[in-house]
């Protein structure tokens, strides 16, 4: 080496540098990809020329599993292109599928409703057409209000006379009504200014407390419409009408059925509230009152019963007596004290016999049209007298000035399954919280249900019970598919 000229030495050195194998360190770092680009290129350059180093690198590769762990961190594995590709395909299929399903439902559902409408409603409907209700109602337990139905005062007075008994006080009435099993129930009454207490009930009479209720007839001659004392907190207040006239509103309780099964619990509410409210208050409020008398021990709590309230008023043209009773559809949760389990949709009958639904626990109400326009506010002016199961005959009188609209008397709901019944055996059923309605005509052995439906009870979705003004009791064990008359 000493003899070699310096330039040769330099050349050799240069040559040796290129031929010199990289450190194991460098090769390791190269395999582990932790070299900066420059050095990596240097190593690659060497590897391209040096078979042995390629051999070394290949031999020194870690075992398969560990190499995967080292080279590709685990999280990255899930984002590899093959997985993403399949994932995207799957996502696409899901999206298309669900879209198709939605479309199918959207298309098929109205068609179904239309079919039902034509098949059922057409032959049977007396005066109502079924129309899908555009309002969407979330399926939920509903709250029902049974409402006294206004009757022309004159007729109501007649009725009262016929009934032969008059209740002295609302409170008493309420007590009577609240008594379980009591068949004689009295629905609220409106009392004119100077009281004309009347005994309305036939039932055994508890001590009667004199009670006065003043009603002021409305300036427009409406008989005072009375907010039922039973209306729970959620019940909308606007039912009170200023009544200038003194009127007596009586609502004979519908007969037998109620006693058996127990009507809505409203009566208890009424009772309590009646107690709570002094006559003075009532008088001061100037509201006539109609109280509803459902029986109170309904196990299902499902029933709201509207009792037609006979309103007797001085003013002949009184339109409505309004009483509100709200029943909760909360199943047996219903509390007699009037506390309602607030749920998403509540149902009620307006003073005019319309069907109302509240989606916000009673803060606001919207009218639900089962047949698209049959219900015209103000057009309802009919009264019906309902009879006790034993003694009374339902007196149903109409003073319709217009083609008869449906006057609903009762509504019952189990979640989205809603039944509404009213005058002239009008019975409607909705399975989607009132969006679509189907008219149902119960028949049994060739007999069709007749009279006004005054009470609807559905202990659950399947088992239902209807009481009519003609004291018929109809039951269904299968959500209205078949009916039996008792």
């Amino acid at each position: 080496m000493e003899t070699v000229p310096k330039i040769v030495y330099e050349r050799l050195k240069a040559r040796a540098l290129t031929v010199d194998h990289p450190d194991p360190d460098l090769l390791t770092a190269f395999s582990e990809r932790s070299l900066p680009r420059q050095e990596r290129d240097g190593v690659l350059e060497h590897l391209a020329r040096c078979g042995e180093c390629r051999q070394v690198v290949a031999l020194a590769l870690p075992a398969e599993e560990s190499s995967r762990l080292v080279v590709r961190p685990l999280p990255g594995k899930w984002l590899t292109w093959p997985r993403l590709r399949w994932g995207m395909i799957a996502a696409g299929v899901i999206v298309v599928g669900s879209f198709g399903a939605l479309r199918y439902r959207a298309i098929s559902h109205p068609g179904l409703a239309g079919f039902e409408k034509s098949s059922q409603a057409a032959p049977m409907a007396k005066e109502a057409k079924i129309q899908p209700e555009p309002l969407a109602a979330p399926p939920a337990r509903s709250q029902r209000k049974a409402e006294a139905i206004p009757t022309p005062l004159g007729e109501a007075a007649g009725l009262v006379a016929r009934s032969g008994k008059e209740s002295d006080s609302l409170e008493e009435l309420a007590k009577l009504q609240a008594a379980p099993g009591d068949k004689n129930r009295w629905v609220g009454r409106a009392v004119g200014g100077p009281l004309h207490p009347r005994t309305l009930s036939h039932g055994p009479k508890p001590p009667v407390q004199p009670w006065q209720q003043k009603m002021m007839a409305n300036s427009d001659n409406n008989s005072g419409a009375l907010p039922s004392p039973a209306s729970p907190p959620a019940a909308p207040p606007p039912f009170a009408r200023e009544a200038n006239n003194i009127s007596i509103v009586t609502a004979p309780a519908p007969a037998s059925g109620i006693g058996n099964s127990g009507g809505a619990q409203v009566s208890l509410d009424q009772k309590t509230l009646n107690k709570a409210q002094s006559q003075d208050t009532l008088a001061l409020n100037g509201r006539s009152m109609t109280s509803l008398v459902p029986s109170n021990d309904n196990p299902g709590g499902e029933v709201a019963r509207a009792k037609p309230a006979e309103t007797t008023a001085n003013a002949p043209q009184s339109q409505t007596a309004q009483a509100y009773a709200v029943a909760s559809a909360e199943g047996s949760n219903f509390s007699p004290s009037g506390s309602l389990v607030a749920e998403s949709s509540h149902w009620a009958i307006t003073p005019l016999g319309g069907l109302e639904r509240s989606l916000d626990q009673g803060k606001t109400w919207q009218e639900v049209d089962v047949n698209g326009g049959a219900e015209m506010p103000g057009a309802v002016n009919r009264q019906s007298a309902l009879k006790d199961s034993q003694a009374r005959v339902a007196a149903k009188q109409r003073t319709d000035r217009k083609p008869k609209p449906i006057v609903f008397r009762a509504v019952a709901a189990n979640g989205p399954d809603v039944w509404a019944g009213g005058s002239e055996a009008n019975l409607y059923h909705s399975t989607d919280s009132g969006q679509h309605w189907v008219k149902v005509v119960p028949s049994w052995r060739g007999i069709e249900l007749s009279g006004d439906i005054v009470s609807l009870q559905f202990a659950d979705v399947r088992n239902g019970r209807i009481v009519t003004s003609s004291a018929e009791i109809w039951t269904t064990p299968d959500n209205g598919q078949t009916w039996a008359k008792q």
Partner: protein, 305 residues
């Protein structure tokens, strides 16, 4: 690797980062003092070739100081470090040796000889010299051990190879030896030059892939793992290269004055011939250089000087 000038820069950076790195490496546990660790870091930093301070800084940050400290503590004869090293790597070392040698007895022999090197049986000036002293922490210690094993194995193979008969050698083929350089045919001169030129223009990675695939006959998967990429990447790269190389060589030939037809004839328009061409150009190395076996010994005086 002359390092007089960088040394001062390295020194300052090391001093600056010493506390952090010392703690990170867990030197206390290994019985490595700050001073000795600083010396090690300076030595490593001087070798790394990083010029600027920021480069040095990131170099030290990415350095596997804990494994470096362990290796150097072992090299320095710290018993606790050696125990730790054995519990951590003994098993893996044998497994790696087995994978490389593919045969148990050979694997044990390989691993044992490496142990001897690592422990430093050879002495110099009364001091044990451990191969671990050459570890700089740029890659993982485990990877480094595998690489050292592989080098050892290749060296041995070459050594034993020299002892086998010529017949056997010709039967087996010269797996680890680059083919002997053939005398350059004057007629092919232009073609060789053109090929060299085209190959030289390729990025080093492409050349490496070509060599590994055509010369070593490695599988796509192996090459992919060597480069840390996906197999399909290598496959695509090879396809592309095979297509473009021919075109480029022809283009280079026509540039050099050949007609296109001549050029194509010279290339013989055959993929296998193309391969042969590539083979020749790639295999430029003449004499195989054995991996330095006692590198540390060689380096130490250099570093001291």
């Amino acid at each position: 690797m002359s390092s007089l000038k960088p040394n001062s820069a390295v020194q300052s950076v090391v001093n600056e980062m010493l506390a952090e790195l010392h703690a990170k490496a867990g030197c206390e546990r290994l019985g490595l003092s700050r001073v000795s660790f600083s010396t090690i870091l300076c030595e490593v930093g001087a070798k790394c070739g990083a010029s600027s301070e920021t480069e040095l800084r990131s170099f030290f940050l990415y350095l596997r100081v804990d494994e470096l400290a362990l290796a150097r503590a072992c090299a320095a004869g710290e018993n606790s470090a050696w125990e730790l090293f054995l519990t951590k790597y003994r098993e893996r070392l044998y497994l790696s040796a087995l994978r490389i040698a593919r045969e148990d007895s050979a694997a044990r022999e390989l691993a044992d000889s490496l142990y001897a090197d690592l422990y430093g049986t050879a002495t110099r000036d009364g001091q044990r010299v451990s191969k671990l002293a050459s570890y700089t922490g740029r890659g993982s210690l485990e990877g480094w051990l595998r690489t050292v094993l592989a080098q050892e194995y290749v060296n041995r193979y070459r050594r034993t190879k020299r002892l086998v008969s010529l017949e056997e050698e010709s039967e087996e083929g010269a797996q680890f030896r680059a083919p002997d350089p053939e005398p350059v045919n004057a007629a092919d001169n232009r073609l060789n030059r053109a090929t060299d030129q085209v190959l030289a223009e390729l990025p080093p990675e492409d050349r490496m892939v070509l060599s590994a695939y055509y010369l070593d006959g490695r599988t796509l998967a192996e090459i992919a793992r060597m480069l840390g990429v996906h197999e399909s990447t290598i496959s695509r790269k090879l396809d592309k290269l095979a297509k473009s190389l021919r075109k480029q060589i022809v283009a280079a030939l026509t540039k050099g004055g050949m007609s296109r037809r001549q050029a194509e004839e010279a290339l013989e328009v055959d993929v296998r011939d193309l391969k042969v061409d590539i083979r020749r150009s790639l295999a430029q190395e003449t004499t195989p250089v054995p991996f330095p076996e006692k590198r540390v010994e060689a380096r130490v005086p250099e570093g001291e000087g």
